[in-house]
């Protein structure tokens, strides 16, 4: 552009005197010469830069035209023109001062003037450096400044040009090229980072779907879907671990189907092994496959890779739990940070006024609801404010609340007993043979649990109308009660399962005894105690099999989850979709208005759905050790749920009347997830640690305890000293002091956090009083 040309011309003019002396003499120059060469270098650099810019301009006609247009445009804005003129003058003065100082130098008193000029040059360099740093900082912080876009663009362009012009001048001699290279790489790196960020945000799945739901239903409904998506991500990782490190190696490198007794369907079951009913129940071929624990061989290393299968199985089981803990706690910490530290009630009305409008709403119906709910919320707050000193008939309220809690406890006890009763009955049925009973008896346990999960929350809702709490507190009580219900059901189920495990173990003893009898019968009395191999070939399908309690546990969990999923989808279709169809089409020929009265369209129940999701995940964690297929199943289920529920919400639901704030509940759900994680890993850990594995199925068969595999690996695969170190580390004398130190650390951290909080409150108060005093 014209500006650049001007610069080039001045630079060229200024340099014409020293063009002859542009070569740098490095060998022991006198001070004066050194300074002259420095100045000449600077000029040379400037000149080179100018020439580069000119060249660039010529090479890119578009750019230059753009430059010119921009500059023409911005010349209308006075300050830019002034600034470039200033910088132009600055440069010209700088260069001319150099040439003038050169001529001065030729006169007397070299030392004195040299030092002066040295200091000056040094100072100028420093100033220049500062200015360049300032401009760079400005460019980096430009995003956060509340200026209009046009001002930002102008400032940006100015600063960038300034930085480009003078950055090169700061590098000296040989270092200059490296410096320029570094600057270019930095720019490229920032551009790469930015592109990567863009790519990452574009890659988030289902983003548009969720945004659409958010605009129609508000952020509390959308928070459920965001939670679902987060769960999906976590389950994908769990699926990756179990699939890649457990199922695939066994399928590819382990012994194939039919080569061993544990991998073959027993002769007695082979008739119906391919039936759909059997497969749906995860029996038959599904049971004797990589999907369940029992299929895995206990061979220490398989395949040409020498893959340690039992070790991998154990570590993946531990790893899934560890990863889940890490992810949940990290998300909780992030949410806590973002929420800005706690519940402040000192700005109640202000926040209501300035932050209650949900800018994400893009739909008139939702907007209407939002207006109504804001109005109601204001009226409620006003009433609360006015009546905060009046407490009417507190005794009646207290009595009603105690009554409500008593009823709820009765409900919980009743449901717990019902499940226990049903489980015992199903055990009785199993003893007598399941073939005699119909579909209901076979699936009684699962159906009862699902039905309880559906109806009890409604009951709790009705009971809570006695209590007369503020809606948010009522919601928390409701969530707490449903949580207790699900937890009670789950633990009753586990206790019943433990009973079954003990039963199977007793059976195992019997089978072991029978095995010896059967083997003896094979040899027809010609048993030779010294021979270790059997020369009579036996089909694996005919070998008597022990009852594999681990596979049984895995199967139970898988069945429970499948039936839970089916129940959810069916209630969705019937409760939401058919109801909506009924209301829509039968409204014309019905006595009362179906849409406004009963039953009307359903609302999306956020808390119920979130709890369902959390408990489903708890069951996955519980069962994943015994059925490696569970994470895969869950990924499939969440995938389908996402699409189905997105469709159902948009098609059959109406926005809630009370449009609730979602933000407060975020960490509440995470906390529940953490509790469930802890509680669901307890049974699995108990079974691993205390129950010996089955003798003829699974990767740990033949060991006394499942964790013995770690001991074995340490002894055989690691060098001796490692084993010694580990045995020292697991010495109780070392572990107990370690636990003590950790407890002390926790205590210390807690007390410091208390003091920080107190200091924080103090500072807040000080800030307020200072502002009041107008300092």
């Amino acid at each position: 552009g014209p500006e650049v040309d001007m610069h080039c011309n001045t630079a060229r003019r200024g340099n014409s005197n020293s063009r002859s002396g542009s070569k740098v003499k490095e060998e022991k120059p006198k001070k004066g010469q050194a300074r002259r060469s420095k100045a000449k270098e600077k000029k040379k650099v400037l000149r080179e830069q100018c020439e580069e810019e000119c060249r660039q301009d010529e090479e890119a006609p578009k750019c230059s035209k753009n430059h010119r247009n921009e500059k023409a445009k911005t010349e209308e804005r006075g300050d830019f023109k002034r600034k470039t003129k200033d910088s132009c003058d600055e440069e010209r003065n700088h260069i001319s001062s150099d040439s003038s100082s050169e001529s001065e130098e030729l006169s007397a008193d070299e030392e004195e003037s040299q030092e002066e000029k040295d200091v000056l040059t040094q100072e100028e360099l420093e100033k220049l450096k500062e200015a360049v740093e300032e401009k760079k900082k400005l460019i980096a912080n430009l995003r956060g400044k509340p200026w209009p876009m046009s001002k930002k663009l102008v400032t940006l362009r100015e600063s960038q040009e300034f930085v480009e012009k003078y950055e090169g001048a700061l590098g000296k001699g040989k270092g200059r090229k490296l410096y320029a290279y570094k600057v270019m790489m930095m720019k490229k790196w920032m551009k790469f980072q930015r592109d990567f960020e863009n790519f990452r945000t574009a890659c988030i799945p289902w983003e548009m779907k969720i945004k659409e739901i958010e605009s129609h239903f508000g952020s509390s409904v959308a928070s459920y879907f965001i939670f679902l998506r987060w769960m999906y991500g976590m389950n994908m990782i769990l699926f990756g671990l179990t699939f890649g490190l457990v199922m695939v190696p066994e399928a590819l490198m382990g012994r194939p189907y039919g080569s061993m007794p544990r991998k073959t369907v027993p002769r007695s079951e082979q008739a119906g092994a391919m039936d759909f009913a059997v497969l749906w129940d995860f029996g038959g071929y599904a049971q004797y496959s990589v999907l369940f624990y029992g299929y895995y061989n206990n061979q220490r290393a398989i395949g040409w890779l020498k893959f340690r299968m039992p070790l991998s199985y154990f570590l993946v089981g531990v790893g899934t739990v560890a990863y889940s803990y890490m992810v949940v706690i990290r998300t909780m910490a992030r949410n806590a940070n973002r929420d800005g530290g706690g519940d402040d009630t000192s700005f109640n009305f202000s926040w209501k006024m300035f932050t209650s409008w949900d800018y994400l709403i893009g739909n008139p119906e939702t907007a209407d609801n939002k207006f109504a709910s804001i109005t109601t919320s204001f009226k409620e707050s006003i009433v609360e404010e006015q009546e905060s000193h009046k407490d009417e008939n507190i005794h009646l309220t207290r009595f009603l609340r105690v009554l409500a809690n008593f009823l709820v406890l009765c409900c919980l006890a009743g449901s717990g007993y019902l499940i226990y009763f049903v489980v015992r009955r199903s055990q009785k049925f199993a003893l007598e043979g399941l073939e005699n009973y119909g579909w209901w008896e076979r699936n009684e346990v699962n159906m009862v649990m699902s039905l309880l999960g559906m109806f009890c929350p409604m009951l709790f809702d009705v009971i809570s109308s006695l209590e007369n709490y503020h809606p948010r507190i009522a919601l928390q009580w409701q969530l707490g009660r449903i949580f207790a219900l699900f937890l009670g059901n789950l633990y009753t189920f586990i206790i019943a399962l433990m009973d079954e495990i003990n039963l199977k173990r007793r059976e195992e003893e019997v089978v072991k005894y029978n095995m010896t009898v059967w083997q003896a019968s094979l040899y027809n009395g010609t048993v030779d105690d010294n021979s270790t191999t059997s020369t009579i070939p036996v089909d694996p399908a005919d070998v008597p099999r022990g009852p594999c309690w681990e596979t049984m546990v895995g199967q139970e969990f898988v069945r429970l989850i499948v039936s839970d999923t089916m129940t959810t989808y069916i209630t969705l279709l019937i409760g939401d979709f058919l109801r909506a169809v009924f209301v829509r089409f039968f409204n014309y020929c019905w006595c009362w208005d179906l849409e406004y009265g009963f039953p009307s369209y359903s609302e999306f129940d956020v808390s119920g759905n979130v709890l369902g999701l959390i408990f489903n995940q708890g069951m996955i964690w519980m069962g994943a050790f015994y059925a490696p297929c569970l994470p895969a199943l869950n990924v499939l289920r969440l995938h389908v749920s996402m699409y189905l529920q997105c469709w159902a919400v948009m098609c059959c639901n109406v926005p809630q009347e009370r449009v609730f704030k979602a933000s407060g509940s975020n960490n509440f759900y995470m906390a529940m997830l953490l509790v469930i994680l802890f509680l669901s890993t307890l049974p699995a850990i108990y079974t691993i640690v205390s129950i010996p594995p089955s003798f003829d199925c699974g990767p740990f068969s033949g060991k006394k305890r499942m964790y013995d595999v770690i001991q074995e690996t340490l002894e055989n695969d690691f060098p001796l000293w490692f084993g010694k170190v580990f045995s020292y580390a697991s010495n109780p004398g070392l572990v107990l002091p370690f636990i003590l130190v950790m407890i002390l650390a926790i205590y210390y951290l807690q007390s410091t956090s208390k003091t920080y909080k107190a200091a924080n409150m103090d500072l807040k108060k000080k800030l307020q009083t200072r502002q009041v005093q107008g300092w």
Binding site: P146, L156, N198, Y359, F371, Q768
Partner: protein
């Protein structure tokens, strides 16, 4: 729709990105097309020459993201250059970038203050509060209730006791609000519904469009 690549030069795009808080949740070209869809005959496809085009407030206020928002007029006024709601492309991009989810809290607080300051005197006084409240509740509260709420707000947030909220008071109060970051719009309807909408609007108000 023409060759998308000639809309902006690479330098223009880079410059926009550097001055903008959001890491391109929506590409700039989409925002530009969104802007253009509001009035295709006014907005040229080629922005390399930086034409001076302004869209009137009626078009901006009818966008699906804004039309249900009770503060849409103030939003348009705050972000427009002329202070009356007629927005150039720069203003439009500014508005979306500040109101996006990625904008920093302080920036949002600053603009929120300007939006709620109806009389543009750099203070939120009682009259501004009353207007805000009436817009929020569609004037469904009684005058007594409105007065009470405004008094409560003034009590809570006014730290220097001058009877009106300055920027510092407002920022001090709003930075702590847990819901504050939800005061943002993010999604932009990029389906063909927009072109239908534009046609409808263009048919409805043929004589009211002008370019400043």
């Amino acid at each position: 729709m023409g060759n998308k690549q000639t809309v902006f030069t690479a330098q223009q795009l880079d410059a926009y990105q550097d001055s903008n808080p959001q890491p391109m949740a929506v590409p700039w070209s989409r925002l530009f097309h969104r802007y253009r869809d509001l009035a295709p005959q006014l907005v040229p496809l080629d922005y390399t020459s930086k034409p001076d085009v302004k869209l009137p407030y009626e078009l901006i206020g009818s966008m699906p993201e804004l039309k249900d928002n009770p503060f849409r007029q103030r939003i348009a006024e705050v972000f427009s250059e002329d202070g009356e709601g007629n927005m150039t492309l720069d203003d439009f991009l500014d508005m979306f970038s500040v109101l996006s989810e990625m904008a920093p809290r302080d920036l949002k607080a600053y603009y929120a203050f300007k939006i709620y300051d109806f009389n543009n005197d750099d203070y939120i006084c009682k009259a501004d509060l009353e207007k805000t409240l009436n817009k929020l509740t569609r004037s469904e509260l009684t005058a007594e209730e409105v007065r009470m709420v405004c008094e409560k707000v003034m009590d809570e947030a006014d730290l220097d006791n001058d009877g009106r909220l300055s920027l510092e008071d407002f920022q001090h109060m709003i930075i702590r609000a847990p819901d504050f970051l939800r005061c943002s719009m993010h999604h932009i309807h990029l389906t063909s519904g927009t072109s239908y909408h534009c046609k409808r609007l263009c048919a409805a108000s043929p004589g009211q469009m002008w370019a400043s």
